[in-house]
Symmetry: C2
Subunit: 301 residues, 2 copies
Amino acid sequence: MVDISLLGCGGGMPMPNRFLSSTIINYKGRKILIDCGEGTQVAMRFIGSGFKSIDVICITHGHGDHVVGLPGLLATIGNSGRVDPITIIGPKGIEDIVKGLRVIAPYLPYDINIIENPNIPLNIIEDLVVSTLELDHSSPCIGYSFYFKRKPKFDVDKANTNNVPRIFWSTLQKGERVIEKGITYEPSMVLGSERQGIKISLITDTRPLDTIPDFIKESDLFICEGTYGDEEDLDKAVKNKHMTFSEAAQLALKGNVDELLLTHFSPAMSEPELFKQNATNIFEKTIIGHDMFVKSLAFRD
Amino acid sequence: MVDISLLGCGGGMPMPNRFLSSTIINYKGRKILIDCGEGTQVAMRFIGSGFKSIDVICITHGHGDHVVGLPGLLATIGNSGRVDPITIIGPKGIEDIVKGLRVIAPYLPYDINIIENPNIPLNIIEDLVVSTLELDHSSPCIGYSFYFKRKPKFDVDKANTNNVPRIFWSTLQKGERVIEKGITYEPSMVLGSERQGIKISLITDTRPLDTIPDFIKESDLFICEGTYGDEEDLDKAVKNKHMTFSEAAQLALKGNVDELLLTHFSPAMSEPELFKQNATNIFEKTIIGHDMFVKSLAFRD
């Protein structure tokens, strides 16, 4: 089960009851945070989230509304007793941004590994592959996809057919190879076929791009910016390098995703729900996000 | 009338419903912000405060819980249409801190004047004198006092006795000198005697100091850190360079202030009210602060 919580749905400036951009994913007790607008740690307190198990922080870009909460969060993680390193992924320039913001948190009890614009899939946490895509915003910006792999089932018949001694079954099931008396036992000798994992993709802030549908392809959940709900704000979306609800919905349709979750609403839009139809007309399974929105995704069977 | 709002009463880490350190003072449409912990601009939205009229930002020290919200706030002030300069006052090192944090807000439509550890009374806004005092914390830290001067009354008898032509009365009342046909007319020729202003002092974070009572002397409102309510936490207060409620109350008593407002509560103290008596036993007129607490002070007559 993968749990996704929108900590803040606001773009630009915070509004009463709308925090700035931040999303957290929980999987097997580990946490991945995407963006860290001001108030992220406050929102985490609201939902009762701990801080120690944040292993990866993914920053889309260096605009304040996506990154200002970082130094306070890093300090709070330090106070939580964490000593294991944290990985921060971000676009080109993220290292300088983290360095600047850390003026108020220079000493931390854990190391920080920074990966700038990786461009290759990363395997930082077991069973998770993080991929990135360069976006089109007014500063270097990347989108993310998270693929949570599902382990194949243990296949007793296969193990017996392959004459694998029972004593090695549990080791092989964990994916580790065993060599005994010159014989090599591979995990594939006891495991069934690959099973579908869970894919979550997150695209903010950007104009629509031709590369996005393939990147988000068949996501179980596609979290996307919908800065403007009203179609009449398209010119603002173009000028400020954002998207309208209908543009996000078009991407969801082209990407054949399972569900679209809109977030990153303009401060000028106090009731995003009023514009929901502009998305559902194009892509039926659209959710208008709100702060503290939680979604749980189970592996399909 | 001077209005004081506690935007956040938390020290160290935010708690559900307790933002980090920040206080705002409103006077004649101008605003003075003291400290800017993470979430300050969110709290300002909660109370419906505007951003454009913040003229002075006073930072006590560079710990994250007092300063992390600064870059986001500066960006939001920029979006509010402000072009007039802002003054930031802080302890030694504040310039480097502001510079570091501004990595995410490098371009602003207004200038920032930074004053490090001024050590002399400052007259940045008309009728307001800001004084500072070096405190005893684990990083350079200063306390503040704000004296809002009250203009003397216009004295018609005095103006007539001094043969001041009526045409100059309003100019002189505003405090400006007039020279006409070789005769100098001073404001004092039409104004009554000095009237008592309003004094607000704010002391956080620090151990008690012998210099504090004189600095806060006869404040109408003394806002003071009370990190620990329980007397049994005195050793923690000593170790972490903070104060207990009773220590803050002792300062209020010695300083002969009118009222004590406690703030900056430890995250470990969920109900500061439970320890109120530890302060009121020493200083009766103690208020336990809470987020969005508002106090209005009128000039005495």
